[in-house]
Amino acid sequence: MSISTPSARPARTIDGLLLAGLFAVAGAVTRAIWFTPVEARQGLAQKIFYIHVPSAFIALYVAFGLLAVSSALYLWLRDPRLDRMAESAAEVGLVYMSVVLLTGPIWGKTVWGTWWTWDARLTLTLFLWFVVLGLLLLRQSIDERSMRARYSAVLGLLAAILVPFIHISVYLFRTLHPRPIVLKPSAPSLPGSMLTTLLISIAAFLLLFVGLMRVRYRYATQRDELLAAEGTE
């Protein structure tokens, strides 16, 4: 059985979609820094917002959502492609979560003077970061494909169940411990050009996410096919 399968691509070409995503993000960041008005209260540092918010949105809703759904579906359908999807969503999601956890405190410190606030979204991202890290470590410790997929899917599902509890805990905690500084990192009402930049940013980061997912998923597929070829000989 030969190794060159339909899904194999020459190793040297960089994926077109990924490249587009990288350019899009570069473009969005450029627009954010140079072609968007500076926010009055927060100054220049506010521009981190254009990286922080899209990353948070994608990390929590898209990446983790994908992880949770493919985990649950895997438990039902046992399709290896769902496992590869979960694996890719976990890794790429971890990257985005890391961006959120890095930009959040930087923004917080420069604008409000505190590194960390127990902001609901930031706290949730922190927890999910640990959970996804744990999931990846667990995956790494299991060699057998179907066992790894099963265990990972179980953890993914449990993580999804955990999310509302973290939410409620943080909410109860914050309402009973009012913070002196009221933070609104999401700044719901934005003037026109800022909103446009934000939307462009979200689209760009999303494109990058899809590009990264595609590359990662393809890697997983090729790796599995390679192991299959080795295994049956």
Binding site: D143, E144, R145, S146, L227, A228, E230, G231, T232
Partner: protein
Amino acid sequence: MALVEAAALTRAFGNRRAVDRIDLAIAAGECLALFGPNGAGKTTLLRLLAGLLRPTAGEARVDGVALPGGAAGRAAVGLISHQTMLYPALTALENVEFAAQLHGVPNATSAARAALGRLAIADRADTPVRALSRGMQQRVTVARALVHSPRVLLLDEPFTGLDDAGSSTLAEALAELAREGAALLLVTHDVREGLALATHVAVMRRGSIALHEPRIASGEPDAFVRRYREIVSA
């Protein structure tokens, strides 16, 4: 009707087929001696038939019930595997009693004591298993497997560690159970013991059955060993 059946039974680990489309049937009173080199998949086959592994494809049936299935399908099976499956901190009696209770044997304590007695180890009933020698532990392991008088016995190297007295006691117990209608699958490297108990003989190689015949066709142990070597080196 066969008590133990495998129909195109397959089990893959990742992409390696440890058990590859095996068809098998063992009727009540029969004993199949299964030989094969290490890594042939014998242990995997046993675990599939014990309901400990889920098949990748095909079916494993015990007493007509597909395994793993629900709890009831496992009731008829007694398993002896490579390890002792015992709790070192518990006594011999407690170990066998626990197994009896898990199978719903009434009067579990006396059943356990009797099982230990059958294996001539009743005097060590109250000794913690970790204080027993490997050979003694094996007797307790056998007692544990037999205490609920299983209709199907899956045995993986059950003679390991047993001395002559222990071996003959075990052989007698197995023969008795076969006479009373149990089906036995005996995996062993001990050709003499295996052929002595067998009604049928099989050789497994790389996940498949390479040979399957009635005992009579296998002839004397030495002759069989020669044929076996030919099969596995082919």
